[in-house]
């Protein structure tokens, strides 16, 4: 089976600080992979490298069979490699309906049109509304984004990404900052994502990681420490050391 997304020998350093060293992994089509590791391990940096927000010093990134490391971010999105952000990166004064419509317009190539009204593109509007409804944002989609509760804004992060019709979706801590009792809705939304979409997600909630991921990649200090099934990872003494040695707060326990 060919990989949806793969990296070969990805390196990145800031001055003397190595943030990525020899990163190699591959995501099979339709996979559900988790990327875990302590703070500062380079997880978000890796997403920035793959999506083109940072330029790697060395290495190659393959989306399907196509090398994409030289493409600017928007071209990677057009080819189906899409991310969400750990810190809300939304449009505060736009309503969710406007924001998702914007994303669909960009994807459809109609965003260049300035002589027709948005409402004339009823297919686009319908699709935007359908995406919002599927994420339970239908009722909130006419309010400015900044007025929405935080948890709803996190859902909108995902809605915006879905509007680009991703082939590979990189979720950067989708539930970051959401209170535990409200995160269920978010995790349900992620669990319901179409199996056509390949997903790699960074998450600190180990319950969710172990329930949802088929394989887990563990990063420490800019390198991949190991990759394996949840069972292999939870049994690995090095992982226990990395997590338990640093803090007892985030236990690598199953359930």
């Amino acid at each position: 089976m060919s990989a949806a997304l793969a990296t070969r020998g990805l390196d990145k350093r800031f001055g003397s600080l190595v943030v990525a060293r020899g990163i190699e992994f591959s995501l099979p089509l339709g996979a559900r992979y988790a990327l875990i590791g302590p703070n500062g391990a380079g997880k978000t940096t890796l997403i920035n490298l793959m999506t083109g927000m940072l330029r790697p010093d060395a290495g190659e990134i393959l989306l399907g069979d196509e090398p994409i490391a030289a493409l600017p971010p928007e071209r990677r999105v057009a080819r189906g490699l899409v991310r969400t952000f750990q810190i809300n990166t939304l449009f505060p004064h736009l309503t969710p309906l406007e924001a998702v419509t914007l994303a669909v317009c960009e994807r459809e190539g109609v965003a260049r049109t300035w002589w027709r009204r948005v409402s004339a593109y009823s297919g686009v509007v319908d699709e935007a509304h359908a995406i919002l409804s599927s994420l339970m944002l239908g009722a909130d989609c006419y309010r400015p984004t900044r007025e929405l509760p935080y948890g709803r804004q996190r859902l909108l992060e995902i809605a915006l990404a879905l509007a680009t019709r991703p082939k590979v979706l990189l979720l950067d801590e989708p539930a970051a900052g959401v209170p535990r009792d409200e995160s269920a809705e978010l995790f349900a939304a992620i669990a319901n994502l179409s199996r056509d979409i390949t997903v790699l997600f960074i998450e600190h909630d180990m319950n969710f990681v172990f329930r949802f991921a088929s394989r887990i990649i563990v990063m420490v200090g800019g390198r991949i420490l190991l990759e394996g099934t949840p069972e292999e990872v939870s049994a690995d003494p090095r992982v226990r050391e990395v997590y338990l040695g640093k803090s007892h707060r985030t236990g690598v326990h199953h359930g």
Partner: protein, 330 residues
């Protein structure tokens, strides 16, 4: 609003956003009042309409796309000199002159947009400022063409449609400027309500997110900058045609700063901000600046400080806040 909105369809909601409301219609009807109420001030009214168009052009890049420009007068001046020179050298037909002005500003704007779209923050402010100054210096040194500090003399306009002569009272001038302003406003309004306009607001709200949605912000910025230059050029051409002269001041830093003040005063990022700002600014200047222009700038400066400190969204923003506060109380 939420209760009503929940019941509507997304199509209806988006259409409602773009619909003409009563205040807007009343505003445009009111622009006709000077013909009857202030027939002696039609020359001023014409200048206000021209300034409003200029401010509208700045609003498209500043208010909607977040491009801070300290040199927007460059395009105003280009339009003014192009239309003025055309009339001086034998082609005084106003409508084609207007188009020539728009074309000249548009071509230079398009060329400049490739530079503009690459920069943000201080470098952008400096580049716009530098380009404005550069053009002003150029016009000054091309004395044989522009008349330099003496201004461009000998601009003779033909009657519009060979019928409406530019008169001393400004009746034709105001009618002409107002109609052109209204048509340009319709274009701007359509842009704002288009998919392109939505993307522009996206760039203003969060330039970082746009590439992550697959959008090429630079292409959008280049396009709106060019459109804005065209509108500014039309405004400049209007001024040259209605006053039948062009002075170096059309390119000056002062004009770039003034239009920024006007837009901020009225409220950037709302189509009517520049229009309302232009009315207040121009009427106040006509009434108060008179013999001591320096003191006029004292009040403008004080006003700017006050707006930044207390009224971050301009007059229209303040009014919108007041009205929503009043509605939620009622």
């Amino acid at each position: 609003m939420t209760a009503a909105a929940a019941a509507t369809s997304p199509h209806a909601w988006l259409q409602a956003q773009a619909r003409w409301n009563r205040t807007e219609i009343a505003f445009w009807l009111a622009t006709l009042l000077p013909f009857w109420l202030f027939p002696d001030y039609l020359v001023l009214a014409s200048q206000i309409a021209i300034t409003a168009l200029f401010a509208l052009s700045l609003d498209l890049i500043l208010g909607y796309a977040g491009i801070v420009s300290l040199g927007h007068a460059a395009f105003f001046g280009l339009g003014a000199y192009t239309a003025g020179l055309a009339a001086k050298y034998g082609w005084g037909e106003p409508l084609t002159g207007l188009m020539l002005g728009a074309l000249a500003a548009g071509i230079v704007g398009y060329a400049a947009s490739f530079i503009i779209a690459r920069f943000r923050h201080l470098a952008l402010i400096m580049i716009t400022l530098g380009m404005g100054l550069l053009l002003a210096e150029l016009a000054n040194s091309l004395h044989w063409l522009t008349g330099g500090t003496d201004g461009l003399q000998g601009v003779k306009m033909w009657p519009i449609f060979n019928k409406f002569r530019f008169d001393l009272y400004g009746t034709t001038a105001y009618s002409y400027s107002l109609i052109v302003l209204f048509l340009c406003f319709l274009v701007a309004r359509r842009i704002i309500n288009s998919p392109f306009g939505l993307s522009l607001r996206g760039i203003r709200e969060n330039p970082l997110r746009m590439p992550a949605l697959g959008a090429s912000s630079r292409a959008h910025l280049r396009k709106i900058y060019t459109i804005s230059a065209v509108l500014a050029g039309i405004a400049g051409a209007l001024l040259a045609q209605t006053t039948e002269t062009v002075s170096l001041e059309v390119l000056g830093f002062q004009r770039s700063a003034d239009v920024l003040v006007i837009l901020i005063l009225g409220g950037a990022g709302r189509l009517y901000g520049g229009l309302v700002g232009a009315i207040i600014f121009m009427v106040a200047r006509d009434q108060f600046s008179g013999n001591t222009p320096q003191f006029w700038y004292f009040w403008i400066g004080a006003l700017l400080i006050a707006v930044v400190m207390f009224l971050p969204n301009g007059i229209l923003g303040g009014l919108a806040k007041l009205s929503s506060a009043w509605r939620s109380r009622a």
